[in-house]
């Protein structure tokens, strides 16, 4: 296996609605920053892979349009996943493992503002039994949240603590959308949005994007003084049939974590992609992380949730923190599908 590292990460200043710019205009400066961070142009990039979904923009093949932001001439080797950019990174990692290339560019973006993201995401549900009922993202998260509360493994105060910590952490993150200094009591006092969900249990609707550069072996060492090495990366998916899953645990997160080498422990922090408060607790438990490991120092998806980029951003944030020397070993995850149906787990480590 080749040693592959994240050597550069850039993200947009996430906003509620990017009404001035289209996706290309939003993405171009972020892609440029990711490449400039390591002083390379597209001529050194062997493969480009992006993550996004056409359903958010309401345009077929909208991801083809965003290739304008990398200047794909002469023609480039590229691919796209109709998923979070974290899976685009996985595809790029595989490509580097094959040995033909040493550098890959990954980007992910979304504008949730044009449509009704809660409804748009119902299109990913079972087409015969569930999608025709249009149960939105908050409803699906609500089913999981109640199941967690019913199981006794979490209380409303535990959920509020997740939200309060996320917002407080986000105060130090200039890219985050939702920040604040509310206490658990303040949050619990707020009325329900849709029992059991409060507004703070849910992510903010966000427009934003991110880009990452990965490189292998000596090329990574050439491009970065302190690369964040990918020591393990794996992803697993569960059945789409909700009734078959125990919504209070995440078997796919646990399995992916095990394959990625999480049991070796020694983590300084974890960036867990959890757009809903209950999901952070479930993901953390599934990875066996105890209270000593800080979760989401960036503020996580509860502070900024550009759908399809939020998972890639967890990997990027974790890698950046390691490269800056603010921790040496971290877990970063990405999730997809309702109620943590599909999960990617990555173990990152610096050279310290």
């Amino acid at each position: 296996m080749r040693d592959v590292a994240i050597v550069s990460f850039a993200q947009s200043k996430h906003v509620r609605a990017q009404t001035d710019s289209n996706e290309v205009e939003m993405l171009m400066p972020v892609v440029r920053e990711a490449l400039d961070n390591v002083g390379i142009g597209m001529d050194r990039v062997g493969f480009t892979c992006s993550g996004s979904t056409d359903y958010l923009s309401g345009q077929a093949f909208s991801f083809v349009m965003t290739l304008d932001s990398v200047g794909p001439w002469p023609p480039i080797s590229e691919s796209h996943v109709e998923m979070d950019g974290a899976w685009a990174l996985y595809e790029a990692w595989v490509k580097l493992q094959i040995g033909e290339i040493d550098v890959a560019l990954i980007y992910a973006y979304s504008k949730s503002s044009p449509g009704n993201v809660r409804e748009v995401l119902t299109r990913q549900l079972d087409p015969y039994f569930v999608a025709p009922l249009w149960p939105d993202t908050i409803a699906m998260a609500g089913l999981q949240t109640r199941a967690l509360l019913d199981s006794g493994t979490a209380t409303p105060a535990d959920l509020a603590a997740v939200a309060a910590t996320a917002r407080r952490n986000a105060l130090a993150n200039p890219y985050a959308l939702l920040t604040g200094d509310a206490s658990v009591e303040d949050l619990l006092a707020q009325p329900m949005l849709a029992d059991p969900m409060h507004v703070w249990d849910c992510p903010p609707i966000t427009d934003g994007c991110a880009a990452v550069v990965i490189a292998a072996d000596d090329v990574a060492r050439e491009l970065s003084k302190n690369p964040a090495w990918i020591r393990g990366i794996d992803h697993r998916i569960e059945s789409q049939a909700l009734g078959l899953r125990d919504l209070t645990t995440s078997v796919s997160t646990a399995t992916a974590g095990s394959k990625a080498g999480v049991s070796a422990g020694g983590f300084d922090f974890a960036e867990l992609h959890a757009p809903f408060t209950a999901q952070e607790l479930i993901a953390r438990n599934s990875l066996g992380l105890d209270a000593s490991v800080p979760i989401n120092p960036s503020g996580g998806a509860l502070s900024a949730n550009p759908v399809m980029a939020a998972g890639l951003i967890r990997l990027g944030e974790a890698a950046s923190r390691i490269s800056r020397g603010e921790g040496n070993r971290a877990i970063a995850t990405a999730t997809s599908g309702p109620c943590l149906q599909q999960n990617l787990v990555c173990v990152l480590e610096g050279s310290a």
């Binding site: 009922l133 109640r146 329900m192």
Partner: protein
């Protein structure tokens, strides 16, 4: 900008049988490799991947295994007001299915409560042939329908 898809999906025999059941006013599940009854039915066992073939009629009432309130969305059993979504394990099945429950406030919902199907008057073979579920009333002495 409006994106509209008229989609008409082929069902295959298993999902077709389930929807046929709904059209006829009955609920059909399928037996998994280990004998448990899967609802809604699946073509292949989720653990062994075996082709599944034994379909069985199941009950029309069951238990709420989890739920959430919603203020009113694209699908509303009663127009203009909120309702609850729930995972409901029908009598005679081992896995719950998702549907709406007609209640007027979250106070009327609880995990473990019993609910029964309210059928749509005109049915065509669609998940919405079940208009929604409704609570089996505490003062209601009627036995739940279907096998236990």
């Amino acid at each position: 900008m409006v994106i509209e898809y008229p989609f008409s999906r082929t069902t295959g025999p298993v999902i077709g049988a389930f929807l046929t059941g709904l059209r006829e006013g009955v609920v059909i599940g399928i037996k998994g490799s280990d004998g448990r009854v899967l609802m809604p039915p699946m073509e292949y066992d989720p653990v062994t991947s075996e082709s599944l073939t034994e379909m069985v009629e199941v009950g029309q009432a069951g238990e709420v295994t989890t739920w959430t309130w919603t203020d009113g969305q694209r699908y509303q059993p009663i127009e203009g007001r909120g309702f609850a979504w729930a995972l409901i394990k029908l009598d005679g099945t081992d896995t719950p299915m998702l549907h709406a429950v007609d209640v007027t406030s979250p106070d009327q919902m609880s995990t473990g409560m019993r609910v029964k199907i309210r059928w749509r008057a005109e049915r065509e073979g669609h998940i919405r042939d079940i208009e929604c579920f409704e609570p089996v009333g505490s003062g209601d002495k009627e036995q739940p329908e279907g096998e236990s």
